[in-house]
Symmetry: C2
Subunit: 86 residues, 2 copies
């Protein structure tokens, strides 16, 4: 399964596009965000995707979870945004 | 209905506590966050609440939405995190 990585510089509309594509294929997607800026863009992307998919009759929900990562030898906590079609 | 306002300085554990209380009473809660730092703390609070409520057999989902606000005469976009018991 592909994990969509979101950064503080990611454009929510573009992330939403990738998210919609993944959800249509797999009915499930995961966004991974490290840091407040990235989490914010990820949440915006889900809100955008939700609005677009609603007009196609697809309802999605978001489940946030913590995720421990090791980046360059340091422990970091990322936020995993699990998105599912209902 | 009470809206739980989250700031960048909010402590996720405390917000999670308030969220759990509201969800147990109303099966529904709204967090309002303005800015990346606030959204991040709000999402963390939902992840913490989800873990705690799961151990009590309560499953929650998050629906993010945009929310237009006027603060001191300026238009601002806030993120509304709608949390529901399934």
């Amino acid at each position: 399964m592909e994990i969509l990585k979101v950064a503080a510089e990611s454009e929510p509309k573009k992330v939403a596009g990738a998210l919609i594509e993944t959800l249509k294929e797999e009915e499930y997607a995961e966004l991974q965000a490290i840091g407040a800026g990235a989490v914010n863009q990820g949440v915006k992307a889900v809100a955008i995707a939700k609005g677009k998919l609603k007009s196609e009759g697809i309802d999605i929900t978001l489940i946030p979870a913590f995720m421990d990562l090791e980046i360059e030898g340091e422990d970091r906590t990322a936020i995993k945004l699990i998105v599912e079609c209902n």
